[in-house]
C-alpha cells in the first residue's frame, strides 16, 4: 500500500529534529539549511508548520524536466531526482507551485524529498508525531491537491 507523509502542524513544537535528520540522511551533515523538510514559524500566531513535498499526482516537476531527470519510484510513489541525469537547469524549481524543489548551488543539481526511499527520517525523528508516515489515503493532502487541480490542464485529459 502506498504511504505518504502526514503532517499535523498542531502537534509541531518547532524542535527542528526533522530538519536535522533530513539533512543528515541526505547530505551527511547536521545542517537545517540543507533539509528537504522545513519548519515555518509564525511568531505572531505561536505556530510551527512543517512543510515538504506531497509527491503530488500532477508531478509538475517531473513534467517540466526537459531531460527525464525526475522519475516516480513505483514502490514509494515519490518523485525522485536522478543526479546523474539532472543538468541543473532549475526549470522544475519554478514549475513546482508548492516550492518544494530547491537548487543546491554546491552540487549544481536540484534536491527534493524522496521519502528516504520508503523510510522517511523526518517522521522517525519527530518526537510528537507531528510528522507520521501513514497510508496515503488517510493523509490530509486534499487541500493542496484541490488547489493543484484548479489550474491543472492535464487532470481533465484523463
Amino acid at each position: 500500500m502506498l504511504r505518504s507523509l502526514n503532517i499535523n502542524p498542531d502537534k509541531c513544537t518547532g524542535c527542528l529534529q526533522c530538519e536535522m535528520a533530513c539533512s543528515f540522511e541526505n547530505e551527511g551533515v547536521f545542517n537545517p539549511a540543507k533539509s528537504r523538510i522545513k519548519i515555518f514559524t509564525f511568531h505572531d500566531e505561536g505556530r510551527f508548520v512543517p512543510y515538504t513535498c506531497t509527491q503530488c499526482d500532477e508531478a509538475w516537476c517531473l513534467h517540466a524536466c526537459p531531460v527525464e531527470a525526475i522519475r516516480m519510484n513505483r514502490e514509494t510513489g515519490a518523485m525522485e531526482i536522478l543526479d546523474s541525469v539532472c543538468v541543473g537547469c532549475k526549470v522544475c524549481t519554478i514549475a513546482c507551485p508548492f516550492g518544494t524543489v530547491n537548487y543546491n548551488q554546491t552540487t549544481g543539481k536540484v534536491i527534493k524529498c524522496d521519502l528516504c526511499g520508503g523510510d522517511p527520517q523526518c517522521a522517525q525523528a519527530c518526537p510528537t508525531e507531528a510528522i507520521t508516515y501513514v497510508d496515503a489515503d488517510a493523509t490530509g493532502l486534499e487541500k493542496m491537491r484541490a488547489w493543484a487541480s484548479k489550474t491543472d490542464n492535464q487532470a481533465h485529459a484523463n
Binding site: H63, V67, G88, C89, V91, I94, N102, A157
Partner: protein, 414 residues
C-alpha cells in the same frame, strides 16, 4: 486515426506520447528537421561547460523510447494542403493526416547587420551550433556576444570558463530587459562585469568586417572589437513561415490558437514556440517561448487532437529561471507590475540579492528575484492560485521574503 506532428522538440514529443496514451490504436508520425534524436535546447549551456555529453541533452534517454508507436521521420515541412489534409515536405514527400500538430518551435533572428552572415558568426540554438562554439572556444580567444537576453546570459558561464575574452553587446539599457526589471537587470550587469565580462548596454553592433584571421566588430559610439567568434543571440521567432499562404491564421508570427490549441482550420493544432496561446496572467494570446509552456501546450493539444473539446487550456503562466555565471534570476507573470497595483521590493546590492513582488489588490500577480533559490516555486503557487492574501499582503509589503509563510496562511490557515 492518423496524427502528424511536425516538430520534435518538447511540445511535439509530449504531444506524441500523450496521443499514444489516449488513443493506443492511433498512428503517430513525428517529423523533425534535425538529424539528432529529440533533444532539449535548455540543456545546451550544460553541454558547453562539459557537464553533460550530447546524449545528456536528449529528451528521452532510451533509444527505443519512440518504438513502433511513434514513427520519427527526418524532414523539413514545406507547406500544408488543408483541404487534402496533407503535410508536404521539402523533398516532395506527402504525409496524410486526420489531425495535424504544428510544433515547429522557433529559430534565432539575426540582426540586420552587414557581415552577420560571415563564417565567424554563429547562433547558439542547435546541437550543431554548440559543436561549432566548442570547437572555436579556447583560452584567450576573443568572443563577441550579440544580445544579453536569456540565451546570451545562460551561455555566459561557458564562455567565461573557457578563458575567452568576452564582450557582450546589448541594445537594451540593462541585461535581459524582457525578463528583469531595471534594478535586477542592472545588478546582473554589475555581476558580469565583476566576473571580467565587458558588458555594453544601450549599444548596437553596426557591422562585422571579416578578415582572414579575425572579424572586426563595429559597435555604436565608434567602438571596435576584434573577435575570433561572434555569437548572435538576438531573440527568436516562430517557425511558421511555411504556413504563409495557407488558410491558417498567424498572430505575432506564430499560429493563432484557441483554448483547445486549435488553429483557425479545424484539425490543425499548434503548440510551444510556434503557437500564440493563452497567457494566464493577461488573458491575452502571446508567444511565451518557454519549456514549461511547450510541454503544457503539447499535452492540451494532444488531448484535443484525440477528442476535440476534451481539454480547455487554462492559460500558461510566463516564467523564467536563468543562471548567469552562478547568479540565479527568476521572473514570473506580470513582473513589470499592473496599473494601480502595489509592489514590494527588498534589495541587498552587495550580496546581489533582490526580490520584487507585484500585486493587483491583495493578490500576487508577478515577481522578479535575483540570488534567491529556496522555495522559489511558491511564487507560482501564489500567483496561479490567485489567493487573496488579506493581512498577509501588508506583511509581504513589510518583508517580501515571507512568501512561504504567506502561502501557508492562505492555503492552510496557518
Amino acid at each position: 486515426m492518423t496524427y502528424v506532428i511536425v516538430g520534435s522538440g518538447p511540445a511535439g514529443v509530449v504531444a506524441a506520447e500523450t496521443i499514444c496514451k489516449l488513443d493506443p490504436n492511433g498512428q503517430v508520425v513525428m517529423v523533425g528537421d534535425e538529424p539528432d534524436p529529440p533533444y532539449s535546447r535548455m540543456a545546451i549551456p550544460y553541454l558547453l561547460i562539459n557537464n553533460i555529453d550530447e546524449q545528456g541533452t536528449y529528451l528521452r534517454k532510451d533509444p527505443e523510447h519512440f518504438g513502433n508507436a511513434i514513427k520519427h521521420v527526418h524532414g523539413v515541412a514545406e507547406s500544408v494542403d488543408a483541404e487534402a489534409k496533407t503535410l508536404i515536405l521539402a523533398d516532395g514527400r506527402k504525409l496524410d493526416y486526420e489531425a495535424l500538430l504544428v510544433s515547429t518551435g522557433s529559430r534565432p533572428i539575426l540582426p540586420p547587420v552587414p557581415g552577420i552572415d560571415g563564417e565567424r558568426v554563429t547562433t547558439c540554438w542547435t546541437l550543431e551550433d554548440a559543436r561549432k562554439i566548442t570547437a572555436t572556444l579556447k583560452p584567450d580567444a576573443s568572443v563577441v556576444l550579440i544580445g544579453a537576453g536569456f540565451i546570451g546570459c545562460i551561455i555566459l558561464e561557458a564562455l567565461v570558463s573557457s578563458g575567452a575574452n568576452l564582450t557582450v553587446v546589448e541594445m537594451g539599457d540593462r541585461m535581459v530587459p524582457r525578463m528583469l526589471d531595471e534594478t535586477s537587470g542592472g545588478l546582473l550587469k554589475k555581476w558580469c562585469q565583476e566576473k571580467g565580462v565587458n558588458v555594453m548596454t544601450s549599444a548596437q553592433v553596426e557591422s562585422i568586417d571579416h578578415h582572414s584571421d579575425k572579424a572586426v566588430v563595429k559597435i555604436s559610439n565608434d567602438r571596435h572589437v576584434e573577435a575570433e567568434l561572434v555569437i548572435s543571440a538576438a531573440g527568436v521567432r516562430a517557425n511558421a513561415d511555411f504556413l504563409e499562404g495557407t488558410e491558417i491564421e498567424l498572430k505575432n508570427g506564430a499560429v493563432a490558437v484557441d483554448r483547445y490549441m486549435c488553429s483557425s482550420v479545424p484539425g490543425i493544432y499548434a503548440a510551444g514556440d510556434a503557437a500564440c496561446g493563452l497567457d494566464f496572467s493577461t488573458s491575452d494570446y502571446s508567444v511565451q517561448a518557454i519549456q514549461p509552456t511547450a510541454v503544457e501546450h503539447g499535452r492540451v493539444a494532444a488531448a484535443n487532437m484525440v477528442r476535440h473539446g476534451s481539454v480547455l487550456h487554462q492559460g500558461c503562466i510566463n516564467m523564467n529561471v536563468l543562471d548567469t555565471i552562478g547568479l540565479v534570476s527568476v521572473s514570473y507573470g506580470q513582473w513589470q507590475g499592473v496599473e494601480g497595483g502595489d509592489h514590494a521590493a527588498l534589495l541587498d546590492r552587495d550580496r546581489f540579492r533582490y526580490i520584487n513582488l507585484q500585486f493587483d489588490g491583495d493578490t500576487l500577480v508577478g515577481a522578479n528575484t535575483l540570488g534567491i533559490t529556496q522555495h522559489i516555486g511558491i511564487l507560482r503557487g501564489l500567483i496561479q492560485g490567485q489567493f487573496k492574501l488579506g493581512k498577509w499582503k501588508q506583511r509581504l509589503m513589510d518583508n517580501p521574503m515571507q512568501l512561504m509563510e504567506a502561502y501557508l496562511a492562505a492555503t492552510q490557515g496557518a
